[in-house]
Symmetry: C2
Subunit: 447 residues, 2 copies
């Protein structure tokens, strides 16, 4: 064990306590809860590290925490976010979402996997470097935003406005971790997203359902409209949308084939009898990474409590999430969706865009990619699983791809992390390994 | 003004206070709130009237309040219910649902239209009769149940068990009032209902929506299943269901044509651009009374709060209400629905029946019908609008039709009553007129 590892071992308790302090502070951007307090905590921690920091205000949004530390020929940006998903439904948590608790070697709390665990592990990796190896061999730029979970609505304008501040030779992205077999994964790109809310209105008030004979029902309007968007075997039928989707390149197909995908284990873990379309093997992996989605994330209309209330609802709302593969953009999907609905007479359905992000791809064989693959191998003792892109989304396009900055990933999540869901958690051991990975990535990328 | 009217005028304030006392007591059968307390209030009021009363227990349900008063060659049953619809959504009420408030001549409270207003006006009509005209010229039997708003699940067995107690020559049904032009309406039948909850399940927990590529989405399952049940122009397409629906008879068609239906006023009042299928005239009225419905009363899945939560829901639920015209029964609809879904591969969708009631029709020219038409004309100064049946539902079949008891209606509701919805209300003047109507009906039916 070298000094770096020893330092981590000696500081385990404090490291965990620091993380728990951050987790105890709610920071739900979608609900504007605890945002300022959390930004203050993050900037205080970066200051303690010795970084030069700025709290960069975002008009009409939550500030970006910026921090700079170290010097060298190369610059590594570290992108994280201090906001978390809403904790609902609360009754499905086994311990309160903002009262971190360790059970059976796992730390449970909202945001521990996405993304406060990674954020804190990176800060503590740098502390460990400074304490055991001296000055950093490269420059680190922390960009910690507060709006990732609501689709980073201001990050494009922020990145453009501060382009000269945000130069870098590579960026360590916010996410990462292990797959269901415990193999460390690296991804170099991600899907985009177009998150919309559809709204339909009927009468000006909820009515007795006896009038459903003659008064339009907005819930039915949404059902009928939705049923034209995707077939029961999960083919998106929004006019023209799939025409923009390209198949994986040969190189991408090769990578996809090398990704171990534990189908039986995943089905058992999630308790589902089959995957969508009954897919297996390469076709399953291909769909996961290279097909867009059209997902109902929420649907609400009328009376949803116990018993039978015979009401004809006045309105209905559905939240729809399109994950975008290369060549799809939020603007394009929004436009296709509006035209598709109009063409079928659903001009009454209101579409509100609540989140739009571009997909992004980064080279899998540049210096940053190679450094992170080598770092992962050194720390985890085996070759990482390399995915061309994540099925998730984030502001990688405006922050990195638009400026030509390659990206990599790596963190403390795993297949049981329940990201965005109740009982979010990480393995405590993985957390300390993630600190080691960051230390190794810095060494590899600087050399 | 005769003594009957004078008594009402002299007791207006107390009559309203008694009604408000009953309205202040919540009695939400769907949520088991205040049921015993309300039954006690009702039985106490009937005792005060001088009725012989029984609180008849219902195993696994809420008791029926039974009361008998008066004597004569004929017996008039009065059917009402002491339960009310859930008050939600609470934020749309301009005064709390269980804090009755009079504004601009209308009394606002949950249950005032459906059905505590009618119940109390009938009790007070009998009090007025006794105080001004002496003994009743017929026997009155009050049957006041506590489960109407949850579909009277025990009334069929109750009616069969107490058949000899529940004999009568006619029954004044719980509902009634004025149409949008202020014309008093009488109905002699009602639609049945089959209220079901459909449930679909996906993974065993809410997941990050990035996995929607490969993990089934229960909200989509319900949307796809629902979209096979009814077309966008509102034709029910449940296999075989419409084959059972008969067109109105000639006599029914004649009645339908005599129903004044203020289309423009209704559209303006409800703020809808057109009726379903763009219907007008006779076709509209016919659909309203003689077509079944398939109504989404509630739909819930996933995240429905503010902002964009990218979640793949673990389950989805929809509440569906079928209103049944003659020849449809709850059992038949349930059976057709299950087979329809299974035939299309939706065997995974769970159907829970939460409410089933038969449709019922009663003669429009028997002694009770003629007595109520004459009473309405005497009190309201014009011929009532006669509807063969209500678009709403209730336990008329087991309580009356099965035993050959004809029914009539009449009450204090109107087109602005917002029955089953926020800001439920009745006109205070209509309330006192409803008391007069009951007095006149007793006189006409007894003679």
């Amino acid at each position: 064990m070298d000094a770096f590892d020893t330092y981590i071992t000696q500081n385990k308790e404090r490291f965990l306590a620091e993380l728990q302090e951050l987790l105890r502070q709610p920071s739900v951007s979608a609900q504007n809860i605890g945002m300022k307090e959390t930004a203050d905590l993050v900037i205080a921690r970066l200051n303690k590290l010795g970084a030069k920091t700025h709290l960069i205000p975002i008009e009409g949004g939550y500030p970006v925490v910026y921090g700079e530390i170290g010097d060298g020929p190369r610059t590594l940006m570290i992108y994280d976010h201090y906001d978390v998903q809403p904790p609902e439904p609360l009754d499905l948590w086994h311990s309160p979402p903002f009262a971190p608790e360790i059970r059976n070697g796992r730390l449970y709390a909202r945001g521990v996997s996405d993304n406060k665990g990674n954020l804190m592990s990176r800060v503590q990796a740098i502390e460990t470097w400074l304490a055991t190896r001296g000055p950093l061999p490269l420059k680190i730029k922390f960009v910690v935003e507060g709006e990732e979970e609501i689709g980073s609505p201001h990050l494009t304008s922020f990145a453009r406005q501060y382009r000269s501040l945000l130069t870098a030779d590579g960026c360590l992205w916010e996410s990462g971790g292990k797959d269901i077999r415990g193999r460390f994964m690296l991804t170099f790109g991600l899907k985009g997203i177009c998150y919309v809310e559809l709204e339909a209105h009927g009468a000006n008030r909820d009515m007795h359902s006896a009038f459903a004979t003659i008064v339009p029902n907005p819930a039915w309007r949404l059902v009928w409209a939705l049923s034209t968007l995707k077939t029961p075997d999960d083919h998106i039928t929004v006019d023209g949308l799939m025409d923009h989707v390209r198949p994986p390149t040969e190189k991408e197909a090769e990578l996809l084939k090398s990704i171990p995908f534990e189908e039986e284990q995943l089905k058992a873990d999630w308790n589902i009898p089959a995957f969508v379309r009954n897919l297996t093997g390469y076709e399953l992996v291909k769909k996961h990474f290279f097909e867009p989605t059209c997902t109902i994330c929420g649907f609400l209309s009328g009376y949803t409590g116990p018993g039978s209330k015979t009401v004809l609802p006045a309105k209905a709302m559905v939240k729809l999430d399109f994950r975008l593969v290369p060549n799809l953009t939020p603007e394009l999907v929004l436009d296709l969706l509006r035209k598709h609905l109009d063409r079928r007479g659903f001009t009454d359905i209101i579409i509100n865009l609540s989140d739009g992000e571009m997909p992004a791809l980064s080279p899998v064989d540049g210096p940053l990619a190679l450094a992170s693959i080598a770092a992962a191998e050194a720390v985890y003792g085996q070759k990482p699983v390399v995915q061309p892109l994540m099925a998730g989304s984030g502001p990688m396009y405006p922050l990195c791809q638009e400026a030509g900055i390659p990206t990599t990933s790596g963190g403390c999540s795993d297949a049981r992390s329940n990201t965005h869901a109740p009982d979010e958690s990480v393995s405590v051991e993985d957390y300390f390994q993630a600190i080691r990975y960051v230390g190794e990535l810095i060494r590899q990328f600087a050399s």
